[in-house]
């Protein structure tokens, strides 16, 4: 324990430092927050639209996660978003949150949201402090797990593709 005490809270403990279990649990608690596990267990916006206006699919070949995203537009405004796919808690919770966050946004606003979320997942402090990011801020913890950032951004990549018509 002395090690973490002396280094202070700001410095991450070496992952395998003796006595690092408390720090480890804290970091895990930060990434696996209840809100994330809740979205994972009860995903919002899961399913397919009958007649989507835009759609795109993204896969993470490293882990096999896949997200298929569909959008229905009302003029320039996204009025419904749905996803199908499978993967880890981070990728699925992120997709679930996306379907709620993107609803009611214009295409330009949705593209800005993609950029904002990607910044958040990469540890951007400003994005993480943005109240407009709402519960998506719970996903900022992935920034400390480099292998997991792509899980969090998978659905957002699909959204970006869909908005650009590259699905």
């Amino acid at each position: 324990m002395a090690e973490t005490d002396v280094r202070g809270a700001a410095a991450p403990a070496a992952p395998n430092a003796p006595g690092g279990a408390a720090g480890s649990d804290a970091r895990l608690a930060a990434i696996y927050q209840d809100i994330i596990l809740d979205h994972y267990r009860r995903p919002r916006g899961k399913g397919a639209l009958d007649a989507p206006d835009l759609a795109a699919e993204r896969r993470n070949p490293l882990c096999g996660d896949e997200i298929s995203l569909q959008l229905a537009l009302d003029g320039d405004v996204v009025h419904e978003a749905r996803f199908t796919g499978q993967g880890c808690s981070i990728s699925q919770a992120s997709a679930s949150m996306l379907t709620q966050a993107v609803r009611g946004k214009t295409r330009a606003e949705a593209e800005a949201l993609v950029r904002r979320f990607v910044a958040l997942a990469h540890g951007d402090a400003e994005a993480a402090a943005d109240p407009a990011m709402k519960e998506m801020r719970a996903l900022q913890g992935v920034a400390r797990f480099p292998a997991r950032i792509r899980c969090a951004t998978l659905a957002w990549g699909a959204l970006d593709d869909a908005l650009k018509g590259e699905g």
Binding site: A2, P15, N16, Y32, C63, E66, G87, C88, I90, A147
Partner: protein, 427 residues
């Protein structure tokens, strides 16, 4: 920084007694006593002897082999030849010229398909692989078959993750031109009956099929005895050095002389030629015919040191050690609620345990274990055809080697329990 923090004060691992090879022999493991490395099927940690041998080569014998008239080049040539002879001996291959150094198993498979396959496979022919083949073999032969207009057949597996030998046999005929299967499944740990499968392939194809065994997960765990396998029907056998404790970037393709001699060169360049005319070129003898360009002497020396080290340890003791660990893992994990274990019983596998935890995605499990210093693999293990048959996109895989201890396995099991608690599953 206080001196207290600078003091390495190594965590005492009381359990080194449970390892076949002490952690102290592996600098990376010795430097991090709390690390539980359970991804040896992906790559093994390196014994100090390997690192020392490579350093000694570069410090005392480095030059471009086969070229210079000076003594240092002769020393490099000698080091390279000695490495080949040492690795061949370890693999039970009497004729060291029939060992081709390659980058690894993937390159060996591409060599086999690009050379033998392009020369011998055509429309109407059939190429047979198994559903447990690694992408290195599966995709390579799949693409060869597509390119040559041959049929591509996949031998299915039994429920406990073995090659279904009846189905395998049913796919073989005189149309079969290539039969590929792994010695040991990287995703399930299943140890295949290589001699039996090779014998079936040779017999049913009337000796017309090239029989290729992917030994990437075989050589690290047991004395392979290539010449005996070749007598049973194996034509080519490949493995990667880095899974045997050697460096990344070197591996070997072992072959029967008649097969290798009948294969055209695969890559062109220096070293692989005999005489270069303006219009035509003749090829160097084995093994140089398949080793175009400056060879990777330093890594070959490292690989030779690795097999030397493994020989001293007792290559056949490794498999027994791993099976005991696999049995411990299968028992403990199997006792947890919501666990699915893939593959056969411990007596039929190497030190690989593939599993899934209901309600916890393998990727999440790997992150949670990583936070506890436990390294496992989560994913499709370069075996997507197998994952489809298991009906999962990914599994978690723990894999063991000589340095793994029973306590390492217990740390895995504790971590899985912790993940279940965090996700509120498993009761």
């Amino acid at each position: 920084m206080t001196t207290l923090l600078m003091d390495p004060a190594p965590l005492v691992r009381a359990h080194d007694a449970g390892a076949l090879a002490p952690r102290a022999e592996f600098p990376l493991l010795a430097a991090d006593p709390a690390l539980v490395y359970l991804d040896s099927a992906a790559t093994a940690q390196k014994p100090r002897a390997v690192l020392d041998a490579m350093r000694a080569y570069y410090e005392t014998a480095n030059a471009n082999p086969h070229r210079g008239a000076y003594r240092l080049s002769a020393a490099a040539t000698e080091a390279y030849a000695a490495a080949r002879a040492r690795v061949a001996r370890f693999c039970g291959l009497a004729d060291a010229d029939c060992l081709v150094f390659v980058r690894g198993t993937t390159e060996a498979m591409n060599l086999a398909a690009g050379s033998w396959g392009r020369a011998h496979v055509g429309p109407g022919d059939e190429v047979v692989v198994t559903a447990m083949d690694h992408h290195a073999a599966f995709v390579t032969w799949q693409q060869l078959a597509r390119e040559r207009g041959a049929a591509f057949r996949i031998a299915e597996l039994t429920a406990d993750g073995r090659v279904d030998e009846d189905h395998f046999a049913s796919l073989l005929s005189e149309r079969t031109r290539v039969v590929a299967f792994p010695h040991v499944s990287n995703a399930l740990g299943t140890v295949n009956p290589v001699a039996r499968l090779a014998g079936l392939a040779r017999e049913r194809s009337g000796g017309r099929a090239l029989v290729v065994c992917d030994g990437a997960q075989g050589v690290p765990h047991m004395a392979v005895g290539f010449d005996a396998l070749a007598a049973a029907g194996v034509d080519l056998y490949a493995f990667s050095g880095h899974k045997v404790g050697g460096p990344m970037g070197v591996g070997a393709l072992l072959g029967r002389r008649a097969v290798l001699e009948a294969m055209p060169p695969w890559q062109f360049g220096g070293d692989m030629i005999s005489r270069v005319g303006d219009e035509e070129t003749t090829w160097n003898a084995l093994p140089h015919k398949f080793e175009a360009g400056t060879p990777n002497v330093g890594d070959a020396v490292g690989l030779a040191a690795a097999v030397e080290w493994l020989d001293a340890l007792g290559a056949d003791r490794v498999l027994a050690h791993e099976r005991a660990l696999a049995a411990r893992a299968l028992d403990a994990l199997g006792a947890l609620p919501g666990l699915t274990l893939y593959g056969p019983g411990a007596e039929s596998r190497s030190g690989v345990v593939s599993f899934s935890v209901e309600g916890v995605h393998p990727h999440d499990l790997a992150t949670i274990l990583d936070e506890r210093g436990v390294c496992i693999r989560a994913g499709h293990h370069c075996a997507q055809p197998l994952m489809r048959r298991l009906g999962v996109p990914a599994t978690a895989r723990a894999s063991f080697w000589a340095y793994t201890t029973p306590e390492d396995v217990d740390a895995l099991v504790d971590g899985v329990r912790a993940a279940q608690r965090l996700f509120g599953v498993g009761g």
